[in-house]
């Protein structure tokens, strides 16, 4: 194995808590009702095409993309559209949701998935535009958390030549193990997916970045990529936020994405491992993105799992099969503890970016009061973007944002390392988020 790489500035080592790492991917049952959010991406809102009381088939479009930076949403099951309602998602935003009554309530979702037919695919037969439009049609978005439409990320302008593709298998967030399991169990599919993406950029080198706390994943991916010379696996030091796009690029290539810039400015495109598997599914099974592996963990969960539920499954459907005591839930996180958001409804649906659902009781939460800053500088030391966090939050609190500090504030990747280490319990990243909102409103 080659030397472990990592990013230069800052970073922290929160407890890993990856208790579900040894649980193979399983499949859940189909709930009595699916509530499918019509907007699960960053970009233009979709146009709902599903009609009330109409029957839908698995894979049928429910909401249509309305532009380039937009993304289709499909039905994961056969069923009947009941209504379209507004409902809070796990992230807290309110979205229109298509409510579907599935035809096969209670059936294991695996049977539905297994019914899809595997096709022979000759990648050479596709043009670059055909590949992109197929990914676009399948409604694939970045599954690492941001939900940015994948076909957009794969279409850099001609003046930005891409010479390196990076597959993000860092999974630096505590608790989450869904990407880990994919790398173990779907390594061959992943490599086929990578080959499709590689075709878009004329077989440029591909590096799969994996944190070294997953040696089995490093091994399985190394084996799966062995036949391909220009697909390599890079083991990375365990350090949060290794999976941050800019940090991962620095770790692997040593290039720094410029301030306000994008990965393509340094000739790199990054895709998450789950996204790559979704691309594979779209080509080999003609299967749009309607399900994903979600890690169910937290101190209230009896049976930790990495499980596939149809998109739109409400959280409440998980209580019985996973032994979660509904009465005790105080903290429900969509995503990991470092960047995940607290949900405020137990009926919120699982979506394309729900990498984990974490259930905690009272003991996991401690209300903390902000104390005065003692200028210890810890926040600045751990900031992976090298930002003067302490001063920035002071500026934001005084509502005195200058032009130069504006750039700093917008460069924040909101990893939360600063808040994590602050001895005075200051809500630093929250203040920076508030600063970002102030700046956006001024525009």
């Amino acid at each position: 194995m080659s030397l472990l790489k990592t990013f230069n500035r800052g970073g922290i080592h929160p407890p890993e808590e990856k208790h579900s790492a040894n649980e193979p991917i399983t499949y859940g049952t189909i709930p009595v009702q699916l509530m499918i959010p019509v907007n699960q991406h960053i970009g233009k809102p979709t146009e709902v095409v599903a009609e009330r009381r109409a029957a839908v088939k698995r894979g049928e479009i429910l909401a249509k993309s309305t532009g380039f930076v937009s993304s289709n949403v499909h039905s994961p099951v056969d069923g009947v559209v009941q209504k379209i309602v507004k409902f809070p998602l796990l992230g807290g935003q309110i979205s229109d949701c298509v409510v579907i009554k599935p035809a096969n309530i209670g059936e294991n979702f695996k049977d539905i998935i297994d019914a899809d037919t595997l096709n022979e695919v000759n990648i050479e037969g596709f043009s670059k535009d055909e590949i992109k439009s197929k990914i676009d049609e399948a409604g694939i978005v970045g599954m690492g958390g941001a939900g940015f439409p994948t076909h957009v990320k794969l279409s850099p302008p001609a003046e930005k030549p891409i010479d390196q593709l990076i597959i993000n298998g860092a999974e630096c967030e505590p608790y989450i193990t869904s990407d880990h399991r994919l790398m173990l169990q779907k390594s061959d599919e992943m490599v086929k997916g990578i080959r499709i993406l590689q075709k878009l950029f004329d077989d440029i080198p591909v590096t799969i970045g994996i944190e070294n706390n997953k040696p089995d994943a490093v091994k399985s991916m190394t084996e799966a990529t062995a036949p391909y010379k220009n697909i390599t696996v890079q083991a990375l030091q365990v350090k949060y936020p290794q999976g941050g796009e800019k940090q991962l690029i620095e770790s692997i290539t040593g290039r720094e994405v410029p301030s306000k810039g994008l990965p393509m400015d340094v000739g790199v495109v990054v895709q998450n491992v789950a996204t790559v598997v979704a691309v594979y599914d779209a080509f080999y099974y003609k299967r749009p993105l309607t399900e994903r592996v979600t890690t169910i963990s937290g101190n209230l969960v009896d049976k930790l799992v990495n499980i596939v539920y149809p998109m739109g499954t409400p959280v409440s459907h998980l209580f019985e099969p996973h032994g979660i005591d509904r009465e005790k839930i105080r903290l429900l996180l969509g995503g990991g503890p470092m960047m995940g958001r607290t949900a405020f409804s137990l009926e919120s649906p699982i979506g394309k970016t729900t990498s984990a659902l974490l259930f905690f009781d009272d003991s996991a939460y401690e209300a903390r009061e902000e104390n005065p800053c003692i200028r210890c500088g810890n926040c600045i030391d751990v900031c992976p973007m090298g930002l003067p966090v302490a001063q920035l939050t002071e500026i934001i609190q005084a509502n005195n944002i200058s032009t130069s500090s504006k750039e700093d504030i917008l460069d924040c990747i909101e990893c939360g390392s600063c808040s994590y280490v602050c001895p005075a319990d200051r809500r630093l990243v929250e203040w920076i988020r508030i600063g970002k909102n102030i700046i956006r409103r001024e525009k």
């Binding site: 005065p372 302490a390 994590y420």
Partner: protein, 322 residues
């Protein structure tokens, strides 16, 4: 509670490191124990008396301020205690109680609370108080008990004081090793360089202080006094003497590295450390006071906001293009 079953809404991250302001303050206070033990060895019970009295005064005054003005102030967060102990370490062990009280009052009120309390002060509170006392009560503040003297009656000048008033001949017979151990007259906490270093190393391992300020501070003093000594050894004391006398080690490890009043950026810390050392040497060699550490640190405290502003750390993704 009626909201027992409601979900908690909060923003990420949902988890914190267990470090706290209290823990930092009490750890720093604890790291002073070796130096205090050496002080006790040389000066006896008066050391304990002075430390306990100033601590009670500083914490008490802060508690009163919290009671009267702002109940958000936590007098027991350790910062007032640390100020008290550090102030005591900067004073002769035979200081009268009323002087300690005035010192505590100046430190907590003028040094800290008038600026807005913890984290807001520009100057190191303990040093503000020390300089205040030094200017107000010059005689009491320069009658240092001699080490080993069991009664407070035997007092004298510090080695630096002797150097200033009597010239280079007065210190010719002093053994550097003896000075490093702390066997000399001086403030109760500043005498033993080695014990202070021990505490400093502990803080460094705990990452509560960084190397930049102490290394630049002490290094600058060593190099500058070394240059003068080489130029004219008949007039100037050797650098080792300067290293182990006065408040240099205490100042460099504990006063200049005070989180609140030192710069945040790397370059800022380097300049801050250098400035402290530079002004210390200028005052020691050419000023009217024998010792310049306190003045130098206070001077540099004043420019900390400028250092932070004009020498920020390089941030991610900013490439210098010529």
């Amino acid at each position: 509670m009626e909201n027992k079953h409601l979900l908690i809404l909060d923003s990420s991250p949902h988890g914190r490191l267990t470090d706290s302001t209290k823990k930092i303050m009490y750890t720093v206070t604890l790291s002073l124990i070796p130096a205090l033990a050496v002080a006790y060895w040389f000066f006896g019970w008066s050391v304990i008396r002075t430390v306990v009295l100033t601590s009670i005064f500083t914490v008490g005054i802060e508690w009163l301020i919290a009671k009267v003005f702002d109940d958000k102030i936590d007098a027991f967060d350790g910062s007032a205690l640390l100020t008290g102990v550090l102030l005591a370490m900067n004073l002769p062990s035979n200081s009268p109680w009323w002087m300690l009280f005035i010192g505590a009052l100046v430190a907590v009120v003028l040094g800290k609370q008038v600026f807005g309390g913890l984290g807001q002060n520009i100057f190191n509170p303990a040093l503000v108080a020390r300089v205040f006392l030094l200017i107000s009560f010059p005689v009491a503040m320069t009658s240092w008990p001699k080490p080993g003297a069991l009664s407070d009656a035997v007092t004298g000048a510090t080695p630096l004081g002797m150097l200033k008033t009597e010239g280079i001949g007065a210190i010719a017979k002093m053994d550097v090793m003896n000075l490093a151990m702390g066997n000399m007259g001086g403030s109760l906490g500043e005498i033993s360089a080695l014990a202070l270093l021990l505490g400093g190393i502990y803080l460094f391992i705990k990452k509560y202080i960084t190397w930049e300020i102490p290394v630049l501070f002490i290094g600058t003093v060593f190099v500058m006094t070394g240059i003068f000594w080489l130029a004219d050894p008949a007039k100037f004391a050797n650098p080792a003497f300067h290293l182990f006398t006065g408040g240099l080690i205490l100042g460099a490890l504990y006063m200049a590295t005070d989180m609140v009043t030192s710069p945040l950026s790397f370059k800022g810390k380097l300049i801050f450390g250098f400035g402290c050392g530079f002004f210390t040497v200028i005052i020691r060699l050419f000023g009217s006071y024998p010792e310049g550490v306190s003045f130098a640190i206070l001077l540099m405290n004043a420019v900390v906001p400028l250092l932070d502003r004009y020498f920020p750390d390089k941030k991610f993704g900013v490439v210098k293009n010529g």
